[in-house]
Structure formats: C-alpha cells, structure tokens
C-alpha cells in the first residue's frame, strides 16, 4: 500500500474568521464545490473540521450538530441533528455502531483567521 506524506501534501486555506463559528458549536464553509463543517470546541480550546455531509441519509447538516465528548479518553464528537448518529471529530469514525466513516481535516487558527488543511491540488 502506498503511504502518503501527510504534512507536506497539505495546503492551508483561509476559510473564515473565528467569530463566524459559535463557541462550542459549528458552522459550514464552502470550499470550491465542497461543504466542510468547522467546529470551535472552545471548552477544550480546540478546532476540528469534517465533511458537512451526514453519511446516514446524505444530509448536509453536520455543522448544525451538537458537539461533545465520550468515554474515558474524552473523544470529541459531533451528533447529527437528524437521527443523532455521532462521529469522532478526530478519526471521523461513526461512534454509534454503524459502519460510516466521514472525512476529517486539519484546522489551524492564526490570530482571528481559521485555516483548513486541504490535500494539494484541491
């Protein structure tokens, strides 16, 4: 299997300002034709990003989901507003026992600007 160099293949893209994303909540940004959900997990001082599409019923809503954590390791997660399926904000794995996997993206905040790490060429 081919293992890709992650760091060097990432390109940082400015997508919005920190104040655009509510504290402990999410917002959706448009990158080309893609919709990406960005989460401002201010309680943990962390930012996360995933695809906006909930794989369950193909709904563009994850940014409107509620975030939180689960388990002893406090795995950060988001719950889809439609049927409350939850997904890890770290791995994109579905935590409610289904086989879904969503994309996650690295996020970087510099001053009041939010950047998304996208694969080069996107």
């Amino acid at each position: 299997m081919l293992v890709l160099e992650v760091e060097s293949s990432v390109e940082w893209m400015f997508v919005c300002y920190t104040e655009d994303v509510p504290e402990n909540g999410g917002a959706c940004v448009k990158v080309g034709e893609e919709q990406i959900a960005i989460f401002n997990f201010s309680r943990r001082g962390a930012w996360y990003a995933t695809q906006n599409l909930c794989p369950h019923k193909q709904q563009m809503v994850l940014a409107r989901g509620m975030i939180g954590s689960t388990g002893d390791t406090c795995e950060p997660k988001v719950a889809c507003p439609f049927h409350k399926k939850t997904f890890s904000l770290l791995s994109g794995e579905c935590l409610s026992g289904d086989e879904y996997q969503i994309k996650t993206y690295p996020v970087k905040v510099v001053e009041d600007r939010v950047y998304l790490g996208l694969e080069k060429g996107q």
Binding site: E23, I67, G68
Partner: protein
Amino acid sequence: MMNVNLDPLFQKPTVVVIGNGMVGYKFCEKLLAKTAAFKLVVFGEEPRPAYDRVHLSEYFNGKTADDLSMASLDWYREKGITLHLGETIQEINRETKTIHSLNGITQSYDYLVLATGSSAFVPDVPGVEKNGVFVYRTIEDLEMIEAYARTARKGAVLGGGLLGLEAAKALIDLGLEETHVVEFATRLMPRQIDSAGSNMLFNKLQALGLKVHLNKNTRTISGEDKIKGLEFTDGSSLDVDMLVISAGIRPRDELAKLAGLETGTRGGVVVNEKMQTSDKSIFAIGECALYNGMIYGLVAPGYEMAEVVATQLCAAGEREFRGYDMSTKLKLIGVDVASFGDPFVSEPDSRAIVFEDSHKGVYKRINISNCGKYLLGGVLIGDANAYNILLQTVNNKIVLPPNPEDLILGARGGEAQAGAGVMSLPDEALICSCESVTKGMICSAVTEDGVTTVDGMKKCCKAGTGCGGCIPLVKDLINETLKANGTYIKNVVCEHFDHSRQELFDLLKINDIHTYDEALDQFGKGDGCELCKPTIASILASLWNDVIVKQQPIQDSNDRFLANIQKGGTYSVVPRIPGGEITPDKLMVIGSVAKKYGLYTKITGGQRIDMFGAHLSDLPAIWEELIAAGFESGHAYGKALRTVKSCVGSTWCRFGLHDSVSFAIEVEERYRGIRAPHKIKGGVSGCIRECAEAQSKDFGIIATEKGWNLYVGGNGGSKPQHAQLLAADIDKETCIKYLDRYLMFYIKTADALTRTATWLNKMEGGMSYLKNVIINDSLGINDELEREMQSLINNYKCEWKEVVDSPELRKRFVHFVNAPQEKDPNAKFEPMREQVKAREW
C-alpha cells in the same frame, strides 16, 4: 483431488459440521465452551460466516451484513476452527466416514453434524423462474430484492404466515406504492393464531394499507421474462411488478437422503432425543432435523438441539431434546402479534377468556384449565405487552390470580404490577430461551456480579442476544432485583452527569447556575454531549426563562435555529395562532409570506398553519414579516407549550355552555414560551361533546353547567391515554391556579423527554397523590410553585423577535459562513399538487 485428512500432529477426534447457519455456529460456540478435545471443521455454502437470520429484515433498515454477523472470521481463527466458506458438500460416504465438497475437498470425520437448515419452499406454479420473483432467506436474496424494488411499483408476497407478513413489511419499508399479500388459506397466520385473532389482524393490516387477499390459489405467474402479474384459479388476477414467495420452508435433507439416512416423507432428517440420525455418528440439528414428526422453524429450539449434541460429545451428562415451546411474538407492520403455550385448546378441554376491541384493533384470548388454576396458552393481537409474563405463567405453571381476566385487561396501575410480577417467578423459569438463561442466573448476575444494565447482561450471560424478545423481561428483572437489594436506581442524564434531571434542576436552582459550562464544571465531567446539553438548556430555560438563542450551541438542533429541521435540511415556520382563532388579514399575511418564500402550507393537527421548506438563511426575513403583522413564535420546535386547541363554544354553538375560545386563548398566552421536560399541549371544550379533544391533552378543560372540569395527564401520540379528572366544576381563577401548580410541579420533577402522561403514570400514588399536592397542598409547596410560574410568565419574550432585532443573532442563520448569501444547493424540492415537497432521501 485435495486431501485435508486428520492432522497427524493432533490426534484429536474430528467433528465436522455441514452448514454454517445460526444453529451450526451456535453448536461450535457451545462445544468449544465445554471442551477443547475435538478438532472442528466447518463447511458453509454461503459466502460469509454465519449471520443472524432472525433479524434479517433489519438489513433493510440500515443494518449491514457485518452488523448481522454472529462472529468474525477472527473468532473462528482464534478458536482454531477450520472454516470453509462457499463450499457446498455434495456427498457423505458413511463407509469411509468422509465427505466431499463440490469444489473437490475431501474431509474425514469422527462425528458429523448436519446443520443444513432449510430453504424457502417454492410451490410448483408455472412462472416462478421469471425475473422479479424472489424468496426471502439469505442476505443475497435481500440484496436482489432491494435492487429490483427500486424500479418496482407494486409488489406481492405469496404466503400470509409469519415470514410472509415479515416480507410484506420489508416491501412496504422499501417504499413500494402497493404491497399485496396472497394467502391460500381462508385466514392469516393459520398456524399460530385462532380465527378471531386472524380476523382482527386482517382488519388491522388492511387499515394500515396492506392489501390482503385470502382464499387465493395461484394458477400461474404471468409475464414474458419479467413477472407482470398473478393469475388465480378463481379467474381473478393481480398486476404486480415483483413477487416474494414465502410459502413455508423445506428442510435441506438432500445429503442425508443420498447417504441413506432416514428422512421424513415431507422432508427432514429423522433424529431421536439425542439428535442422532439413523447413523449413530451423524447428528442433525436446527431446521433440517425432524424430531417426533416435527420441524422446529425457530431458532431457540435449534439452539437447544445444539446444546444437546455438544453435551453428549463431551460426555458431560445426559441432556435430551424433549420438544419445544413454539410461542412467538413479532411486530408486524406496527401490529403486535403473539401466541404462546397452546393457542388453540378450547372447550371442553379448557375455558377461554376473550377481550376484543375492534375499534382499537386489539384481540386477546387466554385459555385456562377447567379447574381455573392454570394458564394453558393464548393469542394476543394489537397489544402484546403482557406476552412475556403470560408465557412465563404458562411455562412455570404459576397458579392464576382469582380474577385471571386482569391478565389481559390490565389491573389499574398495570405497569407496576407487571414489573413486580416477574419477581414471583421461580428461579428456574427460563427467561431467555435462545440462550437458556434462567431467572436465577439473571438475578445472581445482578447481585453477585454487579450487572445493572441490559447491555451488561448481554455480555455477562448472553441473555437477550438471540431473538431479543426477552429484553423487556430482563430489564424488569434487573430493576426489581436492584430494588429488592435496596439499591436506588438512579436515572442519570448521561455519562457526563451522575444526576437525574430532577436533581440537576434543584442543584442549578440552589446554586444559581445560569450557563451550561458552569453546570458542567461544578456537577459534571468531560465535555458534555447531545443528551445533557439540551436537558440542561431546558432546565435553565425553565428556571430563568432567559431567551433561548443566547445559549444557542447547547440547544437541540430545532431550538438552536428556532424551527423544526426537515428532510433536506430546510425548516418549518409555525406562528402562534392562539386557540386556533385567526383574522382574515392575518391569514392573508401567511399566504403572502408563504408565496414569497416558496413555502408549502398545511393546516396542522394543532389548529394552526405550518409553512414548510424555508431555507436557514430566509428564516429571519420570514419572521420579520410575520412579526410586523402581529404574529409571534409558535414554539413548534421547542419542548414548550404548543397549542391550546379550542372548539367554537358558546359564542356560536347551540350547545356551548361557556366561551371556550376566549379561555383557550387566555391559557395559551399565559403559558406560551415556557420550557418544560417535553412539549405541553392543552385543549378547551365548550361542553361535554368535547370537540376540542381536550381529554387527549396534557391538560384539558371542559365547560360544565357550573364551571369547568380540569383534566390532566392526557396524551395522543404513539401511546394514547385519556387525561384524568383533577377537579370538577371549578371557576376560571381556580382552574388557572391549579394549572400553574400542576405545570410547574411537572417542570420541576419530570425526567427529560417525559410527557405529563408518563410522568403521572410513574408517580408513586398516581392521581390521588397529585390531587393531594395540587389541591390540598400536601407538600406545602404551592405558594412557591405559583410564584415560580408567575416569574416565568413575566419573563416571556418572543424569541424570534429577539433574533429579528439583533444583527448579531441574525448572522447565525446562514448555511455557509463564508458565502452567507448562498443557499444550500443540496436542499431540493419536487412539485406536488400545486405546491412543493422535500426531495426523498
């Protein structure tokens, strides 16, 4: 030819299992749990390891093949089982004690276990080979049905038995416009339920949109390559695009027959009570085995057969198969159906008690021994809540109470009784028949091993992991044992808070907590989740009645955007129309707003108007226009007061005793916006004819000659319940005073997402206790309740107005924060009857 003979290093005797279905798998598990003395080799014809066929239909509800799998390939590897998948055995040579597979594998055995199950029985009707004709047995069958159903409009199922009705449900779930069931007999499920029960089921299924044809003998399946319809011997016909045949099962005994083992005339490998076939070193278990002239088409008896063989092989004592109880319960298309014990015995061998409510579609029959002491069996249609306890009563020969009719009519406070009833079972009562778990084992898992949840019980002793039918009973047993041990069963909110909602309510109030983060820091752990956030949001709102949008991200998604989210991600808009009264001018405003924003409009069941399909970014503008015209939020999205329905009352109606519309408006405006553990609905009727359906609401007010009657704790929804009388012939002021107290008491003490009906059902002492609190002030809290309610009322603000007036808050109502003027391109509509609807997902 490949030869996988006895491994020379391991001189263990070899047990070969043919068939890797549910029972074949269970046999491996059971044998290995008892001994490591054998080498196990398994051949399965299907491409994947054994999976849960009982829950096959859940494949259509999103379960994957992996979800249904009984054990992973790793499990077989770890246990040292040699598993050959996709290998059909075609011959058994009893002389050389070897078997041969279609692909050329030869394997010798010391003991052979046939677990070949059965296949769907396909009757000899011309045309069964046509495209669009299926059976319902394997995951592959379901994949083919699912693919074909995408282009089909009308489907039929041949066979109105247990499996046929399950298949019909699957077709409905797959979205076919029409689903038919064709049955040869004169009634449905003739093998499980009596004819009165069948009739009730028939009516109920028809009412639910399933088209049932009885007494139909199919002559031929018409169509060229593809099925086009069915033609019956009575000359009638039915056009369909697809057909699922579910006319029974045929045991797979072809190998056994070929090998000269004794088989039944109507199929099945003949076995004795040790599950031995006519060859002592060959066993047959599961649906291929014919014991005492009977094929057991259920999984629990199959598991018992597996246990019998495993016990014998490791010589761990005698265990014999003694026949099996064929009781079943299933949920068919929203109708409970159960039969237990002997459903058919009748006079003069027994007496029957029958309860029939054709209005609700409920039929219950219990058969009682002539001496009146024992329950022999029965049938339940439409409401099978009592199934588990009735089955236990039969199986354990429990002596009946003096009024056995209570068993099906439900004595008052029936739920509490059913819960306590389980404790009266003997320790050896079999609770989970799939896994042979007794009451004693469950109780000791609770007492000795500290198991407190159903999931824990599944891990600990496997109870509830088979067909799942015993889960309610397991839950009751866990709770009752905990109670008996003096353990306080705590209803905690979630993993982040070790408190019940009521405790949190008190804690947040006493400690003057106003934000979620403060609550989490002081009383919780971790970062919260989708369970505790909305619960606390609702408590904070009930305590301080602060504007909901201030704490947006902890609100449930609907409260976060002050609208109900719908398919496709758009929202609905419901302005308050108190009491259902609206002026022509306001009607026109709704019309013009809906037109301007392209919204679908509908009169709701709550006497107001819902506008569907609003884009997130249009919501503030829509509300701005509505508010300007004098509307306010209807809180259709909140756990809050919804509507107070009214009938026209004395202003126009010739029977009206008082002005119900004015009273409904007054009450609706009084409690609007107040947050509660669940939504609250009310109704006011002008006389006992009850046109406002007030008795189906959380509170209902009905005019009497002398004043008003106040009813509380009613509910529509999935478990309808009539409200109960709290006070009679009271005046308006008293009525409002009692309502203030009642609602505030509910808000403070109910669990999250519990309607008033459920709250009242669970309340110890029930209605008489509530009356004592509300009317006689038995807790001495009424002044406080009234004060708290008044402060909530005083703090009311229309939350949509707050948003419309605040540029800060309006900013949150966009789909893309980096392209606020763009709408979500994925929210799509389709035309329907001059309006639009959301695109199917």
